[in-house]
């Protein structure tokens, strides 16, 4: 038998066939193969129940969100015509920021996950949708929908772990440039939409000479098309349309993009990097069963507790655990699913990582600072260990 899965303080332990209470690590939660498959069955049933219930209410929900978003956008653009009334102009920046946040999170991210494909509306189809950011949708679908959601938190495969520039996990090798971790993270936060755009570039592989112009060119064509239009819209056309207020509109639009960047970075980093979230190795996760994939998604994600409005503004990525279990179910269903997922976790003794925004984001920044330094100086954070007994022969 081959034991596996130790969150952060990972122990990959080769063991003799063991009884459940005969664990290599005292205090570790041990899941038998049957447990894991039963968890998989329960989650499949939860998924099927939700799919069967999708209908007119879900349709109304997403169109209501779209109406609010479009309304915010139009109001925000209009307020740019009255920069001589600072409160109005500021409210405009706020409305435009909210519009972009809703567009990117509750609408764009979720639609591009295929959450509304069942409605068969061309405007809400995952293959055709584009969002209000510089990252082309098709590149994002590759780096996020495929790479990140399939290989969630597998060090070396999931490029969301540090986005190729940050060190977020003790199993990432330390290099001196990681001393700049907090600075790089702050820059990534400010320029987040550009960072997301460059995600598929795999910058570290370009630096190391593993990717050449032939790999980059098709991506660059996409950036030019998509980012070019976004820049033209926010930094030329709308400012020009306000005539004498060109500069204040330019600043207002830039501020809205910045607010959206700070917010999306924070919500997204809270999804996988707070204390207690597990990461995995490629060996551990080779030939996973569906049940094992589900368990990895739960152990590798973290939620943020908050109000219904908070959940909407985070695109329900505050329910990152539910999102990773069911990435293609409409996200506004996650709050309903959360208690049932948490119940499954508690019955099997698995951690269900959730906490208020300040606690989660605080622990994310704690990690950003901590992993700027080599493990020898700061040690490895101790987290509860879950061991999955895999089928014989897996080793």
């Amino acid at each position: 038998m081959f034991a596996l899965l130790g969150p952060l303080g990972r122990t990959i332990t080769r063991r003799e066939p063991a009884r459940r209470d005969d664990d290599a690590r005292p205090g570790a939660v041990v899941l038998s193969r049957e447990d894991v498959e039963e968890i998989g069955r329960e989650l499949d049933a939860l998924r099927a129940e939700t799919v069967a219930d999708l209908g007119a209410a879900d349709r109304k929900y997403i169109y209501d969100v779209i109406k609010v978003q479009r309304g915010m956008e139009v109001a925000g653009r209009a307020a740019m015509y009255v920069p001589f009334l600072p409160p109005v102009w500021l409210a405009g920046v706020g409305a435009l920021s909210l519009s972009k946040i809703l567009d990117n999170m509750e609408i764009g991210h979720n639609v591009m996950h295929g959450q509304y494909d069942w409605m068969r509306e061309r405007g809400l189809n995952s293959r055709e949708f584009e969002w209000d950011t510089v990252c082309p949708a098709d590149q994002w679908r590759h780096s996020h929908n495929y790479m990140h959601h399939t290989f969630t938190n597998i060090v070396g495969k999931d490029r969301d772990i540090g986005y190729g520039i940050l060190r977020m996990d003790p199993d990432q090798r330390w290099y001196p440039h990681h001393l700049g971790n907090p600075l790089f993270a702050a820059m990534l936060m400010v320029l987040f939409e550009w960072g997301v755009m460059l995600h598929d570039l795999e910058i570290e592989n370009v630096v190391q000479g593993k990717r050449g112009w032939a790999d980059i060119k098709p991506l660059a064509v996409g950036w030019w098309r998509k980012a070019g239009r976004q820049v033209l819209k926010d930094y030329a056309v709308f400012p020009a349309l306000t005539g004498p207020f060109f500069v204040t509109t330019l600043v207002g639009n830039g501020a809205a993009n910045l607010v959206r960047n700070l917010w999306t970075f924070s919500i997204i980093f809270c999804g996988h990097f707070p204390t207690g979230v597990a990461s995995f190795s490629e060996e551990e996760t080779a030939d996973e069963s569906r049940g094992e994939w589900y368990v990895r998604q739960m152990l590798g994600s973290a939620n943020i507790a908050g109000s219904p409005l908070f959940h909407v503004l985070s695109g329900n990525l505050s329910h990152q655990i539910e999102h990773h279990l069911f990435p293609d179910l409409p996200a506004h269903r996650y709050p309903q699913l959360a208690p049932r997922v948490e119940d499954i976790c508690s019955r099997y003794g698995l951690p269900y990582n959730t906490g208020g925004f300040l606690r989660q984001i605080g622990s994310v920044w704690g990690k950003i600072f901590r992993f700027a330094l080599p493990n020898a100086l700061v040690g490895r954070p101790g987290v509860p260990t879950v061991v999955i007994e895999r089928s014989s022969g897996a080793a």
Partner: protein
């Protein structure tokens, strides 16, 4: 998305203005904003608003639709695709407009007969009200009256096949067609006859003969029983010199075809089969049929595997990602046929729908645009 519909000449000034609006609306397109003010105000997308609903006989409903300005009209006999939302899901079905090409207000008339298991037709029968918005596509189909019109014309239809030929009849009457026109229509019971008053009115036009047969009710119609050569001789003794247009159920079409071939005038008969309602998914998952990858021109016998694996086994390399139904990289359009989702167990047979190849298995013959 967000492109101006090709082929529509717009004045240069207006074109530049629309171009500016498209830039302002990027990446969503102008329609995604205007539709929130009024669903009929669209720069690119063709839609229609239902303006009148008329329920004449049980199980049928006649709708008047006013299309948005993109509508390019139709030729009598053609069909349109109409998209209707049922329980949150937009379903698309083909209907033949049954009004004249020359309807002076540019409206479109559809008569929909509800099948007991017809999702869209039942929805329209039970719930369509004036104000309902539907998606619309431009008219299509080769079954239509040619220009210039043939001098003598025979129209034959059965059941809901009446709609394209009624459009032809009304168009000819509106055009004050100078040749002879005969219209033979079959229903099973007199109560099933839609547009009865309209048919009586049209039958009084100069040179027009209208005859209705009631196949299930002897003595009730103008002609008795199913279609025969005698019916044709009675309604259109001049049929040899005429062009004929036929739309109806398969059995009736075969009977008419035989009569025409027997008379040696099969070349003058133009037909349109009923647009078959999507087949109900088979109860079992027999591994059978042929999988057609139509974009590559490859056919393969159905092995029962998911479509992604069948495509790869056939030597194709469609785009894919997770291979477990989460990333939507392998989505492709199922042109026709039925597939079953391996995760939900749900079968679906609606044509031209995008599906995930990695979690869908073909049930019988399936055509995938890969």
């Amino acid at each position: 998305m967000g492109q101006i519909a090709a082929g529509r000449p717009v004045a240069p000034m207006l074109g530049r203005l629309v171009g500016l609006f498209e830039t302002m609306a990027t990446p969503h397109g102008v329609d995604r904003y205007t539709e929130l003010i009024a669903p009929t105000v669209t720069a690119n997308e063709l839609r229609a608003r239902v303006t009148d609903v008329h329920r004449e006989v049980a199980d049928s409903v006649t709708l008047q639709l006013r299309p948005t300005r993109q509508w390019r009209g139709f030729r009598a006999g053609q069909f349109v695709r109409v998209g209707v939302v049922v329980d949150g899901v937009r379903h698309t079905r083909c209907f033949s407009p049954c009004g004249s090409e020359h309807a002076d207000d540019g409206r479109l008339e559809l008569t929909v007969k509800a099948h007991p298991s017809g999702l869209v037709s039942r929805e329209l029968l039970e719930r369509a009200e004036p104000g309902l918005m539907v998606d619309l596509e431009q008219a299509a189909g080769e079954f239509h009256l040619p220009r210039p019109r043939p001098r003598d014309i025979v129209l034959i239809s059965g059941g809901s096949g009446i709609t394209p030929v009624l459009a032809m009849l009304r168009t000819l009457v509106d055009e004050r067609h100078e040749g002879r026109v005969a219209f033979l229509h079959y229903v099973s019971r007199p109560d099933d006859l839609v547009h009865a008053g309209e048919l009586r009115r049209l039958g009084k036009a100069l040179g027009v003969t209208v005859a209705v047969g009631c196949t299930g009710t002897p003595g009730a119609g103008d002609v008795d029983g199913h279609f025969t050569a005698e019916h044709l001789a009675q309604a259109a003794p001049w049929v040899r010199g005429a062009q004929s247009y036929l739309c109806g159920p398969a059995r009736m079409m075969t009977a008419v075809r035989e009569v025409y071939d027997g008379m040696g005038i099969g070349g003058n008969l133009h037909t349109e089969a009923f647009e078959a309602a999507p087949a109900a998914p088979p109860a079992d998952d027999d591994v059978r049929g042929t999988v057609t990858f139509s974009a590559s021109g490859v056919d393969a016998a159905n092995t029962g595997d998911v479509l992604l694996e069948q495509a790869e086994a056939a030597g194709l390399s469609p785009e894919y990602g997770c291979r477990m139904g989460i990333c939507f990289s392998c989505t492709a359009v199922r042109r026709s046929g039925c597939t079953r989702n391996a995760l939900t167990g749900k079968a679906d047979a609606e044509p031209d729908q995008p599906i995930q190849l990695c979690i869908n298995r073909p049930v019988g013959d399936v055509d995938i645009a890969v």
